[in-house]
Amino acid sequence: MLNMGPSHPAMHGTTRIMLELDGEKILNAELEMGYLHRGFEKTCENKTYFNLLPYTDRLNYVSPLINNLAYVMTMEKMLGIESPERAQYIRVIMCELSRVCDHLTALAAMCMECGAFTVFLYKMKAREFIWDVMEQTTGARMTTSYIRIGGVRADLHPDWRTTLKKAIDETRKVLKDIHGLMSKNKIFLNRTRDIAVVSPEFAINYSWTGPCLRSTGVNYDVRKAHPYLVYDKLDFEIPLGERGDNYDRYMVRMKEMEQSLRIVEQCMEKLDRDSSPGQLMAKGIEPAEAIKTSRVKKVEERIKLSPNLEGAEKDKYKDILFDGKKYIVPPKEDTYTNIEGLISHFKFFMKGHGIRPPKGEVYFSVEGGSGELGFYIVSDGTDEPYRLHLRAPCFHIVSSLEEIIRGHYIADVIPTFGSMNMIGGELDR
């Protein structure tokens, strides 16, 4: 008997595997999880639809924007609203960058656990450049809460093209380096080729999705099967594997990152029009002054907003948010200067008054970093969800680990577990 984890460097912090061994061969394995369980679903049932958005960031903390998107798109399906086209392209850019981040992190961890520390550092470097773009756009690196019901929180930064180009170029360079370092590396091949081979039937029976399913040769991607946002207008391929072993799971992710970068470039071209030239924040009158003026007459001048609200000025709302007062945060300019704006601000945030979808239940899913990420929400007509359930992609994948590693050696557990991309945040919820 051997106990792997929960504080084992290759267990990603939060899983424990109990192994029954014969020498180094695994006879039986049992997974114990729940070390990161924080009652996500219970918490959400006691929060309003708007308030629970930040909790979705913490599910898959490597690609928070896709989690935001999955939740928000589910709500939009329920409310029957659609975001403006510009917002959709921004969403796609951000989600594809998140997907690259997710794959980079997964593979970085996998390669590092196989002994390739250089690769880990290279990948972290590439991720840093992508996070620069995210920081510039969303204001945060990990806990973004950027995608909102009806659109996105703020428009892209005036300087976004330079940062994004740099991120794409640097990531491409890193991917090339990693192909050179790993793809034909004998040590890596020995650890991954023909280890933990998974047949398509097995994968489907366990309801695998995402890169892991595609590594077995099954062509299923939510972006192609049930297109959402503007994915049907974009040109990209779905890389498939052949054997379904660890190496294929690595290779599919590598190829997928290239496709994601392609998508981002296409979106860059489509977004030819930059948002209204941003003289922006620095100019204009102080909010306090505007409030004072609004008591006697209508305020015509631009108001100097907090830098935190950059990109969310009133004149950008039509580009980035759905046109409907009930579902979006009213622009700050209105809140400061007229009574209607103030009332709608309070109405939006007051308990019992915010977003109240019709009664019913809805399921919607998007393609997350490691597979189909779906939300199932039951609404009872109030402003809090009656039941919120998350379909976490890696839950289904990790649940098959016990069976996959049976008959293999202890050393094989590590690349296998790494190639599955277990994310404690969404597995344990």
Binding site: M33, G34, H37, G39, E41, K42, T43, N46, K77, M78, G80, I204, N205, Y206, S207, V218, Y220, A225, H226, G360, E361, V362, Y363, S365, E372, G374, Y376, V378, Y386, R387, H389, R391, F395, H396, S399, S400, E403, D428, R429
Partner: protein
């Protein structure tokens, strides 16, 4: 030739006429409410050709506290060949919250059912290893039930030997 949702629903109606309680559409999703005793038959029928719902996308439960049929089991099936998602629901009595396990049909039902057992206390007949998944052994109550308070504290437990 892609199969339509209507075809599948018609076939279900024909084969399980008295077992199907209700069929409705909400926000574009088909919902089929069935009798809890026919669950295994219905999913086996759907999993076989030509419908080929080979994936159990999701399995969860909703607690309608105060109703006699308190627990609602929700199954999401997906077919790779026809690209259709289907939602199957069934209600369980508050006094006797038990249902057939799907572990013989789909392997990922194992953990999904353990999670539902952990969070709602639903008994799955025929499950090979029904044990709490997220919570520890010795945890009192079922956290996702509506009568479990949000900030309830648990008593201390003894350390395992």
């Amino acid at each position: 030739m892609a199969m339509e949702k209507e075809e599948i629903i018609d076939a279900l109606k024909q084969n399980f006429s008295e077992k199907i309680k209700n069929i409705s559409v909400q926000f574009g999703d088909e919902i089929i409410v069935i009798d809890k005793n026919s669950l295994l038959d219905v999913v086996k029928f759907l999993k076989a050709e030509p419908y080929a719902f080979t994936m159990l996308l999701d399995l969860t439960c909703v607690d309608y506290k105060g109703e006699e049929l308190r627990f609602e089991m929700v199954y999401h099936l997906f077919s790779l060949t026809t690209n259709i998602r289907l939602r199957i629901k069934t209600r369980l009595l508050e006094k006797d919250p038990g249902i057939d396990s799907l572990t013989s049909v789909w392997k990922n039902a194992n953990w999904l059912e353990r999670e539902v057992y952990d969070m709602f206390g639903i008994r799955f007949d025929g499950h090979p290893y029904l044990r709490r998944l997220f919570m520890y052994d010795g945890f009192e109550g079922h956290p996702l039930r509506k009568d479990y308070p949000l900030r309830k504290r648990q008593p201390r437990i003894r350390m395992k030997k």
